[in-house]
């Protein structure tokens, strides 16, 4: 109890609170502008943290990223420009709601689901972080491989357009991810002597191209406003009812996101995709998915933010960062003498609990700040589409450029835009392409690493208990529909 009071004192003081508020505003801005990423924002904050006390320093990173990831849903839902690979999982669903005039509600759902997911992640972080981290440490490349397969299977199986087109789209993404220097051996692949291609095609320009440029290419001048019938109203009205209706999705998404988020390097991006797929699989009305149905949004939105919280578990317990943001955060922790490791919990528990409290505050602040952002963003509905396009193209341009500070990104964006247009005409799903690009390296590297360890022996993928379990789930996932189909073929005969 004493520690808790000390932790409260560390957080509830003028400096920390003001820092959190400023960081939230900054994160909100970064997230809402397509092309600016949470990583970029965190890297920029580092020099400021040099001059801060430990707790406010770490508070800036937590508050800024939590806000940026959630705010990234705004351009994703309203303009179809997703900011992160995880929000790409439900971009089309949210945009479909916007087209129906429910854009504000889509955002309201994703904000509240994010807040709840984030708080679940926080609770897990606060109470069982060391335990969960120990489990995560037992995951080797074999387990990661199955996890990657699981995520990709979900995307291929639930995508629109049917399984063949889903598979082809997914493998296109995987093939694209092999362009550039192989990170394990340094062998250049399909780079044709170009230094730019040696770095591969980054997913941000690809994502902007596939969604935003693809959408612009389908624009017919003189077309009506984005949503003429959208009323500017409280984004949170009616959200409570929807969340109660889909409370199972809410909890499942939060818990699942927390679990996979704790796996360094894999969780954050995969969580939302698998959650969205689960929501569809277990839904009573799967045919409504993709037409602006809130069920998937609830689950994926909750999963997304809870994974964000739990990604800090391996970083804080063992100093193993899962992504660039937590890597920077680990650096700040070291710099401020809050060395990651079990001693963070035992030697200075008040510091640890202070960090936890900041998670709670940052997630609670999502609600008022989110409200503010949605109200502001809503004014774009009053702008006629022709003018909106002028602003969108500039954001696309800088977004594609800023990832690598290179005009090459702009070309990549254009190329993917054209591809999205063709894919749309041919009814190919585009989300699996993104997932393929993002998960390709994870899948490939873990497969190769495993095969090198096992010297080419494929049975090694079932020789470790967790790996075998995950493998069985994957086989079930693919096998079950086939078995059911067989059964259905047999049944009429049996009846006759």
């Amino acid at each position: 109890m004493d520690t808790m009071m000390q932790a409260l004192a560390l957080v509830l003081n003028f400096e920390t609170i003001v820092t959190i508020l400023i960081a939230c505003l900054f994160g909100l801005f970064v997230g809402a502008i397509p092309g600016l990423t949470a990583t970029m924002a965190t890297a920029l904050l580092v020099p400021f943290t040099f001059y801060m006390d430990p707790i406010p320093a770490i508070a800036t990173v937590i508050a800024c990223t939590a806000m940026a990831i959630t705010a990234g849903d705004i351009p994703s839902a309203l303009l179809r420009i997703p900011g992160t690979p995880s929000s790409a999982a439900y971009t089309d669903e949210a945009y479909a709601m916007t087209k129906k005039g429910q854009g504000a509600q889509a955002l309201g759902i994703s904000i509240v689901a994010s807040c709840i997911g984030g708080i679940v992640g926080f609770l897990v972080l606060a109470f069982i972080a060391p335990m969960l981290a120990k489990v995560a440490l037992r995951f080797s490349s074999f387990e990661y491989f199955w996890l990657a397969i699981l995520g990709l299977s979900c995307a291929a199986l639930i995508s629109s357009g049917g399984p063949i087109k889903g598979l082809l789209a997914l493998f296109l993404g995987l093939a694209i991810s092999t362009i550039g220097m192989d990170p394990l051996t340094g062998a250049p692949r399909f780079s044709f002597g170009s230094v730019e291609l040696m770095g591969g095609l980054s997913f941000v320009p690809a994502m902007i191209g596939l969604f935003a440029i693809g959408e612009l290419l389908r624009y017919q001048p003189g077309q009506e406003n984005l949503v003429s019938n959208a009323k500017i109203r409280n984004p949170f009205s009616g959200v409570g009812k929807i969340l109660r209706q889909y409370r199972v999705n809410l909890w499942r998404g939060s818990l699942f996101g927390t679990a996979v988020g704790a796996l360094p390097g894999a969780g954050g991006d995969l969580g939302a995709w698998i959650s969205y797929a689960m929501a569809k699989r277990f839904s009573r009305t799967p045919q409504k998915f993709g037409t602006g149905h809130p069920e998937g949004l609830v689950e994926a939105g909750a999963s997304n933010n809870s994974a964000l919280s739990s990604a800090w578990i391996p970083a804080m317990v063992f100093g193993i960062p899962g992504d660039a943001v937590t890597a920077i955060a680990v650096g700040i922790l070291f710099m401020k003498g809050l060395n990651p490791g079990p001693q963070l919990f035992t030697q200075n528990p008040e510091n640890f609990y202070a960090v936890m409290l900041i998670f709670l505050i940052a997630n609670l602040l999502l609600i008022p700040f989110g409200w503010l952002a949605v109200r502001t963003a809503n004014s774009i509905f009053r702008v006629s589409r022709a003018y909106l396009n002028g602003a969108i193209v500039i954001f696309c341009l800088v977004g594609a450029y800023a990832v690598n500070n290179s005009m090459f990104g702009v070309l990549v964006m254009g190329g993917f835009g054209l591809m999205a247009y063709v894919f749309h005409r041919a009814n190919f799903p585009i989300a699996p392409v993104i997932l393929g690009i993002v998960m390709g390296p994870l899948l490939e590297q873990n497969f190769l690493t495993s095969m090198i360890i096992a010297r080419g022996d494929l049975t090694a993928f079932f020789s470790r208990p967790i790996a075998a379990g995950l493998g069985a789930v994957v086989i079930l996932l693919w096998g079950l529909p086939l078995v059911l189909r067989l059964l259905r073929l047999l049944r009429p005969k049996a009846a006759a």
Partner: protein, 319 residues
């Protein structure tokens, strides 16, 4: 109307800034880091940039140009205009690209400004490993190196090189190297029991050491690390000797004006000697090293030969 006035004011303001000052630097400098945000290169480059900004009185924009195992960023630095407004953080990999056939760029394509960091790795095993000391590991390697999977980073990286050198010194057969992208996945493989030894840098392994998940067997430094006085050097802990370090330095494209190089090199020397820098590097456990200007050039030439020899010994040099 209000918006237009605002824009006009902003535009005029921008004009006003550019028209001042004649001497270098009179506008913001770009510092290219060939690695992503969050890594060691990014962290050290950003502290150098922050301190350099104070010294030079102009903003220094750190730009992460990651990808292609840092080939892209390094190439971009070499190809920039040598006017002193594009600088870069060059790293260990530069000593290896041309040997590995990954890219023709070498230290000769740059104007060296100064070395600011040299880090040594360590040899680690899991807590429950049968190898109690480095000598145990060396003996096992001598017997059959191909039975001991080890990791630490990509194939042909500095950690792989150090391991290959250790195996060669021990007189073992071909080293069994399991490549991974960076230190974090390798540590994950070590703790999950998929590999038996890892070569990573101390700052990356520190938290796992504190948690009692992994044990250091030796440091690859010539002398004991001040932060880890209990960890022996390779020579102390076994009957072989290996020492290979990675390095990070500030450089610009080839043919930069001499006076610009001199002023940057002098500023960097002051920074490296400053308390802020020492404090930062100590907190992150990076080792400070300094070589300025031409001395850095000599250092780079030596590294180039050293790494070339080591890569040849490991059988990694491209035909």
């Amino acid at each position: 109307m209000k918006a237009i006035t605002l824009i006009a004011t902003a535009t005029l303001g921008l004009f006003a800034v550019s028209a001042s000052a004649q001497d270098y630097p009179d506008r913001p400098i770009t510092l290219i880091v060939p690695w992503g945000a969050g890594g060691g290169s990014d962290a050290t480059a950003r502290i150098v940039a922050t301190l350099l900004e104070e010294k030079l009185g102009q903003p220094i924009n750190v730009v992460n140009r990651a990808g292609g195992g840092s080939v892209i960023g390094h190439t971009e630095i070499a190809n920039a205009k040598p006017d002193g407004y594009t600088l870069g953080n060059i790293t260990t990999e530069l000593s290896m690209f041309h040997w590995l056939g990954q890219s023709p760029v070498s230290y000769q394509d740059y104007t060296p400004i100064g070395l600011f960091n040299a880090d040594f790795g360590g040899i680690f095993v899991a807590q429950n490993s049968p190898y109690e000391s480095l000598q145990d590991l060396v003996d096992a390697l001598r017997e059959d190196a191909s039975a001991i999977p080890a990791g630490g980073a990509n194939q042909g990286g500095v950690n792989h090189l150090a391991y290959a050198a250790l195996v060669a010194e021990a007189g073992g057969s071909q080293a069994f190297w399991v490549p991974s992208e960076g230190a974090a996945p390798a540590l994950q493989l070590l703790t999950s029991g998929a590999i038996q030894a890892a070569i990573v840098q101390f700052p990356e392994a520190r938290a796992l050491m504190d948690a009692g998940e992994i044990r250091p067997l030796a440091t690859l430094n010539n002398e004991r690390e001040p932060s880890y006085p209990d960890v022996p050097t390779v020579a102390e802990a076994s009957d072989v000797n290996v020492s290979i370090s990675g390095w990070r330095g500030l450089a610009g494209p080839k043919d930069m004006p001499q006076e610009v190089v001199d002023s940057l090199s002098a500023a960097l020397e002051e920074i490296v000697a400053s308390d802020e820098y020492k404090e930062f590097m100590a907190s992150r456990q990076f080792t400070i090293a300094f070589e300025g200007g031409d001395a850095f050039g000599t250092y780079l030439a030596e590294r180039d030969t050293q790494f070339g020899d080591a890569l040849k010994a490991a059988g990694l040099v491209a035909e």
